[in-house]
Point group: C2
Chain length 251, copies 2
């Protein structure tokens, strides 16, 4: 019997942001593997096995999921947000590249989801309304020099910049270094959005400027958006402050 | 009575990629406005008014939607994909910036969706697994010189590059120019993905190299992903070819 491996994105948090396709994949699975906080969002049905693991174990999790699927099981690997953005889909293909035989007899499918930057942007307006980039600030998987170079070029290109994994307990300082680098290429009044726990009960969204950004609290559950030169604040008639980037650039 | 304006993303096509929140917003609306192909995806219920308009009329549509909401109506403006990515959310905030009074008495909400690049990436593997950027190739709203500069810097930064609006009947040549610019900074063997009509019955995904990319057909319904130096092809045991970008960069 042919096994199945679906790598599904559960979106940033609430049920109402999980696509029906991702929901169906999770419901159909006999085994569900993922990082603990993501699998904890799933209510298991009788007969389902849920296996939680740590967030540094992506490759091992991918191999284990492939092994179960190769036995003929229906397996889902879940990511928060979108599985293709700094998440499990790449880990599964890394495992397959390392050893193609792992995927013997396995149907593979990736189910997209709402990634954190889209949800964060929606909450505060439309900061990603013009050209933008997404950079993971974690140097666990790449040299810090690469991150520095990308930040500088992204600032020169005047992209809106979404920063994933901006800080963790082990890396509290890198987001401050990132703001320092960006200060060399962007004006001090550039708009910066801190979106924490988007879609959760403890959601908190703060807006500040690049000059003041280093003083803001920032952790693993925060998504940071640094505006381009065109990104601006606007108030609706009810006094609510929004952030958006116009679609057009005046030449 | 207070009106409501929800700017909702319907995802790239199929019902199964529409979030429950976006679905609920559309169902609750008395009036739904949008670009014709997007509103045509909605099955109206009795009492709903659906108003289709052309794709160069975003600002006028935003103002009209605000005006209906200001009268106390529940209004939804729909975008394909995510409303915050080269879509209607920015147009609504542009309208409000131009004239804040338009939003008098209107509750505004943005409902995120699965944007085209995430769905295209999911279909072919995980090309967006590492740092990436999104650039709209349309020069209707910005000078071509800006696009050229961003392409060059994105190539230098070694971002994976998602190209939205790569071509239209009026702009068949710009995608070829874009490939030429990228050829100056990326190797000829860089992987290029053409994802056409993702999630639709006529979906077609082709993979080629930067050297051959200019020969590929490309239209308004195509999303192009140009890989970074790290993006690669891998085959699963069933012979299916995937494209992915590893999470880690070897220093």
């Amino acid at each position: 019997m042919k096994g199945e491996l679906v790598i599904a994105g559960l979106g940033p948090g609430p049920e109402s942001w999980v696509t029906p396709a991702a929901r169906a994949a999770v419901e159909a699975a006999e085994m569900i593997l993922g990082y603990t906080p993501y699998v904890n969002r799933i209510a298991a049905r009788p007969g389902q096995v849920i296996e939680a693991s740590d967030n540094r174990e992506e490759l091992a999790r991918a191999k284990r999921a492939l092994a179960f699927a190769a036995e003929g099981k229906r397996v889902a690997v879940v990511s928060g947000g979108d599985p293709g953005v700094f998440a499990m889909a790449a880990a599964v293909f890394e495992a397959i590249e390392e050893s193609p035989a792992l995927s013997e007899g396995v149907d593979i499918r990736v189910e997209p989801g709402v990634t954190a930057m889209l949800a964060a942007a929606a909450r505060i307006g439309a900061p990603l309304g013009h050209d933008f980039c997404a950079i993971s600030l974690s140097d666990n998987l790449k040299p810090w020099a690469t991150i520095e170079k990308r930040l500088r070029l992204a600032g020169q290109a005047d992209f809106v910049i979404a920063l994933y994994n901006p800080a963790s307990k082990a890396r509290p300082q890198q987001i401050k270094q990132a703001f320092e680098i960006l200060s060399g290429v962007l004006p001090p009044e550039a708009v910066v959005v801190f979106a924490r726990a988007v879609g959760r009960s403890d959601e908190e969204i703060d807006v500040t400027t690049l000059a003041r950004a280093a003083d803001m609290p920032c952790d693993m559950r925060t998504l940071v958006i640094v505006g381009s030169r065109a990104t601006r604040q606007v108030k609706s008639a009810d006094g609510r402050a929004w952030v958006y980037t116009p679609r057009s650039e005046r030449s």
